[in-house]
Protein backbone atom coordinates (compact mmCIF):
# COMPACT_ATOMS: atom_id res chain seq x y z
CA UNK A 1 0.00 0.00 0.00
CA UNK A 2 0.99 3.68 -0.12
CA UNK A 3 2.33 3.60 3.38
CA UNK A 4 4.74 0.81 2.61
CA UNK A 5 6.21 2.26 -0.61
CA UNK A 6 6.40 5.77 0.80
CA UNK A 7 8.01 4.61 3.97
CA UNK A 8 10.35 2.50 1.89
CA UNK A 9 11.40 5.50 -0.13
CA UNK A 10 11.93 7.61 3.00
CA UNK A 11 14.02 4.91 4.59
CA UNK A 12 16.08 4.48 1.42
CA UNK A 13 16.63 8.24 1.15
CA UNK A 14 17.74 8.40 4.75
CA UNK A 15 19.98 5.40 4.31
CA UNK A 16 21.58 6.80 1.24
CA UNK A 17 21.94 10.15 2.98
CA UNK A 18 23.76 8.50 5.87
CA UNK A 19 26.08 6.64 3.60
CA UNK A 20 26.79 9.85 1.73
CA UNK A 21 27.49 11.83 4.86
CA UNK A 22 29.63 9.03 6.25
CA UNK A 23 31.62 9.08 3.07
CA UNK A 24 32.32 12.80 3.31
CA UNK A 25 33.18 12.55 6.96
CA UNK A 26 35.62 9.76 6.27
CA UNK A 27 37.25 11.83 3.60
CA UNK A 28 37.53 14.84 5.85
CA UNK A 29 38.86 12.70 8.64
CA UNK A 30 41.54 11.32 6.39
CA UNK A 31 42.59 14.82 5.37
CA UNK A 32 42.49 16.07 8.89
CA UNK A 33 44.58 13.17 10.10
CA UNK A 34 47.33 14.76 7.96
CA UNK A 35 48.31 12.01 5.49
CA UNK A 36 52.07 12.00 5.22
CA UNK A 37 52.82 13.80 1.90
CA UNK A 38 53.53 11.16 -0.66
CA UNK A 39 56.61 10.78 -2.77
CA UNK A 40 56.90 9.42 -6.23
CA UNK A 41 59.89 8.65 -8.43
CA UNK A 42 60.20 9.09 -12.16
CA UNK A 43 63.06 7.38 -13.97
CA UNK A 44 64.87 9.00 -16.84
CA UNK A 45 66.36 6.38 -19.13
CA UNK A 46 66.77 5.77 -22.86
CA UNK A 47 65.75 9.34 -23.59
CA UNK A 48 62.34 8.92 -21.89
CA UNK A 49 60.60 9.84 -18.67
CA UNK A 50 59.04 6.74 -17.11
CA UNK A 51 56.18 6.92 -16.30
CA UNK A 52 55.59 9.74 -18.77
CA UNK A 53 52.29 10.66 -17.16
CA UNK A 54 51.47 10.49 -13.45
CA UNK A 55 48.56 11.68 -11.35
CA UNK A 56 49.37 12.70 -7.81
CA UNK A 57 47.71 14.38 -4.86
CA UNK A 58 48.60 18.00 -4.09
CA UNK A 59 51.54 18.03 -1.73
CA UNK A 60 53.35 15.17 -3.43
CA UNK A 61 57.07 15.43 -4.02
CA UNK A 62 58.15 14.09 -7.37
CA UNK A 63 61.78 13.03 -7.78
CA UNK A 64 63.30 12.47 -11.19
CA UNK A 65 66.35 10.19 -11.27
CA UNK A 66 68.60 10.07 -14.32
CA UNK A 67 69.61 6.52 -15.16
CA UNK A 68 70.68 7.36 -18.69
CA UNK A 69 74.31 7.74 -19.70
CA UNK A 70 73.80 11.25 -21.02
CA UNK A 71 72.70 14.34 -19.07
CA UNK A 72 69.06 15.43 -19.10
CA UNK A 73 67.06 18.26 -17.56
CA UNK A 74 63.54 18.54 -16.19
CA UNK A 75 61.93 21.82 -17.20
CA UNK A 76 58.29 22.88 -17.04
CA UNK A 77 56.97 23.93 -20.45
CA UNK A 78 56.65 27.52 -19.27
CA UNK A 79 60.33 27.26 -18.28
CA UNK A 80 59.67 29.00 -14.95
CA UNK A 81 57.56 26.79 -12.69
CA UNK A 82 60.35 24.29 -12.22
CA UNK A 83 63.70 23.87 -13.84
CA UNK A 84 66.48 21.48 -12.90
CA UNK A 85 70.13 21.97 -13.68
CA UNK A 86 71.65 19.40 -16.06
CA UNK A 87 71.48 16.01 -14.34
CA UNK A 88 74.31 13.63 -15.04
CA UNK A 89 73.88 9.86 -14.54
CA UNK A 90 72.50 9.07 -11.04
CA UNK A 91 71.78 12.71 -10.25
CA UNK A 92 68.26 13.68 -9.28
CA UNK A 93 65.88 16.59 -9.05
CA UNK A 94 62.81 16.98 -6.81
CA UNK A 95 59.83 19.30 -6.89
CA UNK A 96 56.82 19.42 -4.55
CA UNK A 97 53.52 20.08 -6.29
CA UNK A 98 51.25 22.06 -3.99
CA UNK A 99 48.70 23.42 -6.46
CA UNK A 100 46.32 21.23 -8.46
CA UNK A 101 46.69 21.41 -12.19
CA UNK A 102 48.41 19.75 -15.13
CA UNK A 103 52.13 20.39 -15.43
CA UNK A 104 53.68 19.56 -18.79
CA UNK A 105 57.46 19.37 -18.84
CA UNK A 106 60.31 18.40 -21.12
CA UNK A 107 64.05 17.91 -21.27
CA UNK A 108 65.54 21.19 -22.50
CA UNK A 109 68.55 19.34 -23.93
CA UNK A 110 66.49 16.77 -25.85
CA UNK A 111 63.17 18.53 -26.29
CA UNK A 112 61.39 15.55 -27.85
CA UNK A 113 61.40 14.04 -24.33
CA UNK A 114 58.19 15.13 -22.68
CA UNK A 115 56.09 14.20 -19.67
CA UNK A 116 53.22 15.41 -17.53
CA UNK A 117 52.30 15.55 -13.86
CA UNK A 118 48.60 15.83 -13.10
CA UNK A 119 48.03 17.18 -9.62
CA UNK A 120 44.66 16.67 -7.99
Amino acid sequence: MTVTSRMFRIVMALALGCVFLAGIQKGLAARAAGDAPSKINITIDNFSFTPSSVTVAAGTTVTWINKDDVPHTVVSNDKTTFRSKALDTDEQFSYTFTKPGTYDYFCSVHPRMTGEIVVK
Binding site: N46, P71, A86, D88, P111, R112, T114
Partner: protein, 327 residues
Protein backbone atom coordinates in the same frame (compact mmCIF):
# COMPACT_ATOMS: atom_id res chain seq x y z
CA UNK B 1 87.60 0.27 -43.15
CA UNK B 2 85.18 3.10 -42.47
CA UNK B 3 81.51 2.24 -42.14
CA UNK B 4 78.81 4.27 -43.83
CA UNK B 5 75.10 4.59 -43.48
CA UNK B 6 73.55 6.00 -46.58
CA UNK B 7 70.30 7.93 -46.76
CA UNK B 8 68.13 7.62 -49.85
CA UNK B 9 68.86 10.44 -52.19
CA UNK B 10 66.61 12.19 -54.64
CA UNK B 11 66.87 11.48 -58.33
CA UNK B 12 68.13 14.77 -59.63
CA UNK B 13 70.40 13.93 -62.51
CA UNK B 14 73.06 12.42 -60.24
CA UNK B 15 73.76 8.76 -60.92
CA UNK B 16 72.68 7.29 -57.61
CA UNK B 17 74.34 3.89 -57.82
CA UNK B 18 77.55 5.42 -58.99
CA UNK B 19 77.53 7.81 -56.06
CA UNK B 20 77.01 5.06 -53.51
CA UNK B 21 79.74 2.92 -55.07
CA UNK B 22 82.03 5.89 -55.11
CA UNK B 23 81.38 6.87 -51.52
CA UNK B 24 82.05 3.31 -50.42
CA UNK B 25 85.64 3.83 -51.52
CA UNK B 26 85.96 6.97 -49.50
CA UNK B 27 87.36 5.41 -46.37
CA UNK B 28 90.31 4.10 -48.31
CA UNK B 29 91.12 7.55 -49.55
CA UNK B 30 89.23 7.83 -52.83
CA UNK B 31 87.74 11.09 -53.87
CA UNK B 32 84.33 11.49 -55.43
CA UNK B 33 84.19 14.48 -57.70
CA UNK B 34 80.92 15.82 -58.93
CA UNK B 35 81.43 17.37 -62.34
CA UNK B 36 78.36 18.44 -64.22
CA UNK B 37 76.20 15.89 -62.46
CA UNK B 38 78.48 12.95 -63.24
CA UNK B 39 80.63 11.31 -60.66
CA UNK B 40 84.19 10.26 -61.19
CA UNK B 41 86.34 8.70 -58.59
CA UNK B 42 90.01 9.36 -58.22
CA UNK B 43 92.50 7.98 -55.77
CA UNK B 44 93.08 10.78 -53.31
CA UNK B 45 96.83 10.41 -53.36
CA UNK B 46 96.94 10.87 -57.13
CA UNK B 47 94.67 13.88 -56.94
CA UNK B 48 96.70 15.68 -54.37
CA UNK B 49 99.93 14.96 -56.19
CA UNK B 50 98.39 16.88 -59.06
CA UNK B 51 98.23 13.84 -61.34
CA UNK B 52 94.89 15.06 -62.60
CA UNK B 53 95.72 18.66 -63.16
CA UNK B 54 92.16 19.77 -63.58
CA UNK B 55 91.11 18.46 -60.20
CA UNK B 56 93.93 19.86 -58.14
CA UNK B 57 92.73 20.86 -54.72
CA UNK B 58 92.30 24.57 -54.13
CA UNK B 59 90.78 24.79 -50.70
CA UNK B 60 90.74 22.04 -48.15
CA UNK B 61 89.44 22.00 -44.63
CA UNK B 62 88.49 19.42 -42.04
CA UNK B 63 85.36 18.91 -39.97
CA UNK B 64 85.55 17.20 -36.59
CA UNK B 65 82.56 16.84 -34.31
CA UNK B 66 81.09 15.63 -31.04
CA UNK B 67 84.25 15.27 -28.97
CA UNK B 68 82.13 15.12 -25.76
CA UNK B 69 85.08 15.79 -23.44
CA UNK B 70 83.97 14.65 -19.99
CA UNK B 71 82.08 11.57 -21.16
CA UNK B 72 83.45 8.46 -19.45
CA UNK B 73 80.88 5.68 -19.73
CA UNK B 74 81.10 2.24 -21.31
CA UNK B 75 80.76 3.37 -24.93
CA UNK B 76 84.20 5.05 -24.60
CA UNK B 77 85.88 5.56 -21.23
CA UNK B 78 88.57 7.82 -22.72
CA UNK B 79 87.19 10.33 -25.21
CA UNK B 80 90.25 12.57 -24.84
CA UNK B 81 92.43 9.77 -26.20
CA UNK B 82 90.25 9.25 -29.28
CA UNK B 83 90.14 13.01 -29.85
CA UNK B 84 93.95 13.01 -29.82
CA UNK B 85 93.92 10.19 -32.38
CA UNK B 86 91.58 12.23 -34.57
CA UNK B 87 93.93 15.21 -34.27
CA UNK B 88 96.88 13.03 -35.27
CA UNK B 89 94.88 11.86 -38.28
CA UNK B 90 94.18 15.44 -39.34
CA UNK B 91 97.85 16.30 -38.91
CA UNK B 92 98.79 13.35 -41.13
CA UNK B 93 96.61 14.41 -44.08
CA UNK B 94 98.54 14.83 -47.34
CA UNK B 95 97.20 18.38 -47.66
CA UNK B 96 97.13 20.31 -44.37
CA UNK B 97 93.67 21.84 -43.92
CA UNK B 98 93.41 25.62 -44.20
CA UNK B 99 91.17 25.50 -41.13
CA UNK B 100 89.12 23.11 -39.04
CA UNK B 101 85.41 23.22 -38.21
CA UNK B 102 84.17 21.73 -34.94
CA UNK B 103 80.44 21.19 -35.31
CA UNK B 104 79.61 21.07 -31.62
CA UNK B 105 79.26 18.98 -28.47
CA UNK B 106 82.82 19.90 -27.63
CA UNK B 107 82.06 18.85 -24.04
CA UNK B 108 79.72 16.46 -22.29
CA UNK B 109 78.49 18.68 -19.47
CA UNK B 110 79.48 22.27 -20.36
CA UNK B 111 82.01 22.25 -17.51
CA UNK B 112 84.95 24.67 -17.40
CA UNK B 113 87.49 21.87 -17.00
CA UNK B 114 86.02 20.07 -20.00
CA UNK B 115 86.36 23.16 -22.19
CA UNK B 116 89.92 23.48 -20.82
CA UNK B 117 90.86 19.92 -21.77
CA UNK B 118 89.39 20.38 -25.22
CA UNK B 119 91.28 23.62 -25.84
CA UNK B 120 94.48 22.03 -24.58
CA UNK B 121 94.08 18.99 -26.86
CA UNK B 122 93.37 21.13 -29.92
CA UNK B 123 96.61 23.03 -29.44
CA UNK B 124 98.37 20.17 -31.23
CA UNK B 125 96.10 20.51 -34.28
CA UNK B 126 98.22 21.73 -37.20
CA UNK B 127 95.99 24.38 -38.70
CA UNK B 128 95.73 28.15 -38.80
CA UNK B 129 92.22 28.49 -37.46
CA UNK B 130 89.49 26.49 -35.76
CA UNK B 131 85.86 27.56 -36.08
CA UNK B 132 83.25 26.32 -33.61
CA UNK B 133 79.51 26.05 -33.26
CA UNK B 134 77.95 24.77 -30.02
CA UNK B 135 76.09 21.51 -29.49
CA UNK B 136 73.34 21.09 -26.88
CA UNK B 137 75.91 19.61 -24.47
CA UNK B 138 77.90 22.88 -24.57
CA UNK B 139 75.04 25.10 -23.40
CA UNK B 140 73.55 23.11 -20.53
CA UNK B 141 73.20 25.40 -17.54
CA UNK B 142 73.95 28.93 -18.60
CA UNK B 143 72.24 29.31 -21.96
CA UNK B 144 75.65 29.06 -23.61
CA UNK B 145 77.35 31.91 -21.79
CA UNK B 146 80.60 30.04 -21.11
CA UNK B 147 80.76 28.67 -24.65
CA UNK B 148 80.10 32.11 -26.05
CA UNK B 149 82.85 33.63 -23.93
CA UNK B 150 85.45 31.07 -24.99
CA UNK B 151 84.53 30.27 -28.56
CA UNK B 152 81.97 32.83 -29.64
CA UNK B 153 83.93 36.06 -29.77
CA UNK B 154 82.90 38.25 -32.67
CA UNK B 155 79.73 36.32 -33.39
CA UNK B 156 76.26 37.77 -33.77
CA UNK B 157 73.22 37.21 -31.58
CA UNK B 158 73.42 33.83 -29.87
CA UNK B 159 76.61 32.95 -31.70
CA UNK B 160 76.10 32.82 -35.47
CA UNK B 161 78.63 34.19 -37.94
CA UNK B 162 80.02 33.92 -41.45
CA UNK B 163 83.42 34.20 -43.12
CA UNK B 164 84.96 33.88 -46.55
CA UNK B 165 87.81 31.66 -47.61
CA UNK B 166 89.21 31.51 -51.14
CA UNK B 167 85.96 32.68 -52.67
CA UNK B 168 83.69 30.33 -50.72
CA UNK B 169 81.28 31.67 -48.10
CA UNK B 170 81.01 29.84 -44.77
CA UNK B 171 78.08 30.24 -42.38
CA UNK B 172 78.16 28.96 -38.78
CA UNK B 173 74.72 28.56 -37.21
CA UNK B 174 73.44 27.84 -33.70
CA UNK B 175 70.41 25.57 -33.50
CA UNK B 176 70.67 24.28 -29.92
CA UNK B 177 69.28 27.20 -27.90
CA UNK B 178 65.71 28.15 -26.89
CA UNK B 179 64.44 24.68 -27.68
CA UNK B 180 60.73 24.12 -27.20
CA UNK B 181 59.01 21.15 -25.61
CA UNK B 182 58.38 18.41 -28.15
CA UNK B 183 60.47 20.23 -30.75
CA UNK B 184 63.65 19.65 -32.70
CA UNK B 185 66.64 21.93 -33.22
CA UNK B 186 65.76 25.58 -33.69
CA UNK B 187 67.33 28.52 -35.49
CA UNK B 188 64.83 31.18 -34.43
CA UNK B 189 63.52 34.27 -36.23
CA UNK B 190 66.47 36.54 -35.41
CA UNK B 191 69.01 34.12 -36.86
CA UNK B 192 66.85 33.43 -39.93
CA UNK B 193 66.61 37.14 -40.62
CA UNK B 194 70.37 37.43 -40.30
CA UNK B 195 70.96 34.53 -42.75
CA UNK B 196 68.75 36.17 -45.36
CA UNK B 197 70.68 39.42 -45.09
CA UNK B 198 74.07 37.73 -44.90
CA UNK B 199 73.79 36.04 -48.31
CA UNK B 200 71.72 38.70 -50.08
CA UNK B 201 74.68 40.43 -51.72
CA UNK B 202 76.50 37.27 -52.83
CA UNK B 203 76.68 36.10 -56.44
CA UNK B 204 74.79 32.86 -57.04
CA UNK B 205 78.02 31.25 -58.20
CA UNK B 206 79.57 31.63 -54.75
CA UNK B 207 79.98 28.20 -53.13
CA UNK B 208 78.24 28.19 -49.77
CA UNK B 209 79.10 26.00 -46.81
CA UNK B 210 76.74 26.01 -43.82
CA UNK B 211 77.71 24.31 -40.59
CA UNK B 212 75.59 23.72 -37.49
CA UNK B 213 75.37 21.05 -34.82
CA UNK B 214 71.95 19.45 -35.27
CA UNK B 215 71.18 18.29 -38.83
CA UNK B 216 69.41 20.87 -40.95
CA UNK B 217 67.35 18.19 -42.59
CA UNK B 218 64.92 15.72 -41.14
CA UNK B 219 67.11 12.68 -40.48
CA UNK B 220 64.95 11.09 -37.77
CA UNK B 221 62.59 13.44 -35.91
CA UNK B 222 61.58 10.78 -33.37
CA UNK B 223 65.07 11.08 -31.94
CA UNK B 224 65.30 14.85 -32.30
CA UNK B 225 67.47 14.54 -35.41
CA UNK B 226 66.28 17.56 -37.34
CA UNK B 227 65.66 21.33 -37.12
CA UNK B 228 62.17 22.79 -36.99
CA UNK B 229 62.85 25.90 -39.08
CA UNK B 230 65.68 24.79 -41.35
CA UNK B 231 63.45 24.87 -44.44
CA UNK B 232 63.25 28.62 -44.18
CA UNK B 233 67.01 28.97 -43.84
CA UNK B 234 67.60 26.77 -46.87
CA UNK B 235 65.10 28.75 -48.92
CA UNK B 236 67.51 31.71 -48.77
CA UNK B 237 70.19 29.49 -50.32
CA UNK B 238 68.16 27.99 -53.16
CA UNK B 239 69.58 30.29 -55.81
CA UNK B 240 73.19 29.31 -55.16
CA UNK B 241 74.88 26.84 -57.49
CA UNK B 242 76.66 24.89 -54.76
CA UNK B 243 75.54 24.60 -51.15
CA UNK B 244 77.08 22.18 -48.67
CA UNK B 245 75.55 21.64 -45.24
CA UNK B 246 77.82 20.06 -42.64
CA UNK B 247 76.36 18.84 -39.36
CA UNK B 248 77.15 16.60 -36.42
CA UNK B 249 74.96 15.45 -33.51
CA UNK B 250 74.07 12.00 -34.80
CA UNK B 251 77.55 10.47 -34.47
CA UNK B 252 77.50 8.71 -37.83
CA UNK B 253 77.93 9.72 -41.42
CA UNK B 254 74.87 10.34 -43.47
CA UNK B 255 74.51 12.12 -46.77
CA UNK B 256 71.68 13.51 -48.84
CA UNK B 257 71.68 15.45 -52.08
CA UNK B 258 68.73 17.69 -52.90
CA UNK B 259 69.15 19.80 -56.01
CA UNK B 260 72.20 21.98 -55.45
CA UNK B 261 72.37 21.22 -51.73
CA UNK B 262 74.54 18.43 -50.34
CA UNK B 263 73.86 17.53 -46.70
CA UNK B 264 76.49 15.63 -44.79
CA UNK B 265 76.91 14.59 -41.16
CA UNK B 266 80.18 13.63 -39.53
CA UNK B 267 81.23 10.85 -37.20
CA UNK B 268 82.00 11.70 -33.61
CA UNK B 269 85.49 11.51 -32.20
CA UNK B 270 84.03 10.18 -28.92
CA UNK B 271 81.38 7.45 -29.32
CA UNK B 272 79.03 6.08 -31.98
CA UNK B 273 75.23 6.18 -31.88
CA UNK B 274 72.77 3.72 -33.40
CA UNK B 275 71.33 4.07 -36.88
CA UNK B 276 67.84 5.60 -36.89
CA UNK B 277 65.33 3.32 -35.19
CA UNK B 278 67.88 0.57 -34.56
CA UNK B 279 67.80 1.01 -30.79
CA UNK B 280 65.45 2.24 -28.08
CA UNK B 281 67.00 5.67 -28.10
CA UNK B 282 69.75 7.75 -29.72
CA UNK B 283 72.23 7.41 -26.83
CA UNK B 284 75.85 6.24 -26.82
CA UNK B 285 76.20 2.83 -28.47
CA UNK B 286 78.59 0.32 -26.97
CA UNK B 287 80.47 -1.77 -29.52
CA UNK B 288 83.29 -4.32 -29.07
CA UNK B 289 86.42 -2.35 -28.26
CA UNK B 290 88.18 -3.49 -31.44
CA UNK B 291 85.34 -2.00 -33.49
CA UNK B 292 85.16 1.40 -31.74
CA UNK B 293 87.67 3.13 -33.98
CA UNK B 294 85.85 1.97 -37.11
CA UNK B 295 82.97 4.19 -36.05
CA UNK B 296 84.81 7.34 -34.97
CA UNK B 297 86.53 9.67 -37.39
CA UNK B 298 87.04 12.95 -39.22
CA UNK B 299 85.78 14.51 -42.44
CA UNK B 300 88.12 16.03 -45.01
CA UNK B 301 86.64 18.44 -47.55
CA UNK B 302 88.40 19.58 -50.72
CA UNK B 303 87.16 22.23 -53.06
CA UNK B 304 88.32 21.56 -56.59
CA UNK B 305 88.11 22.94 -60.08
CA UNK B 306 87.82 26.61 -59.37
CA UNK B 307 85.74 25.87 -56.29
CA UNK B 308 82.71 24.54 -58.07
CA UNK B 309 83.11 20.92 -57.25
CA UNK B 310 83.96 19.42 -53.92
CA UNK B 311 84.93 16.12 -52.45
CA UNK B 312 83.88 15.05 -48.98
CA UNK B 313 85.90 12.24 -47.50
CA UNK B 314 85.08 10.60 -44.20
CA UNK B 315 87.78 8.52 -42.68
CA UNK B 316 87.51 6.51 -39.52
CA UNK B 317 90.22 6.44 -36.87
CA UNK B 318 90.98 2.87 -37.91
CA UNK B 319 91.35 3.60 -41.64
CA UNK B 320 94.98 3.33 -42.58
CA UNK B 321 96.71 5.11 -45.43
CA UNK B 322 95.40 7.60 -47.91
CA UNK B 323 96.94 6.31 -51.11
CA UNK B 324 95.53 2.96 -52.17
CA UNK B 325 97.02 3.00 -55.63
CA UNK B 326 100.78 3.08 -55.62
CA UNK B 327 102.63 5.30 -58.03
Amino acid sequence: MAKYIKENMNEDGVDRRGFLECMAWAGTGALCVLQGGVLNSFALGDVLRGKYGHVKGELSFVQISDSHIGFNKAANPDVTATLREAIAKVNALPTPPSFVLHTGDLTQLSKAEEFDTLAESLKSLKTDQIYYVPGEHDVLNDNGEMFHERFGKGTQGDGWYSFDQKGAHFIGLVNVLNLKAGGLGSLGPEQLEWIEKDVAHLKSSTPIVVFAHIPLWSVYPQWGWGTDDSEQALSYLKRFGSVTVLNGHIHQTMQKVEGNITFHTAMSTAFPQPAPGQAEGPGPMKVPSDKLRDLLGITDVNFLQHRHTLGIIDSSLSATGQEPSGD
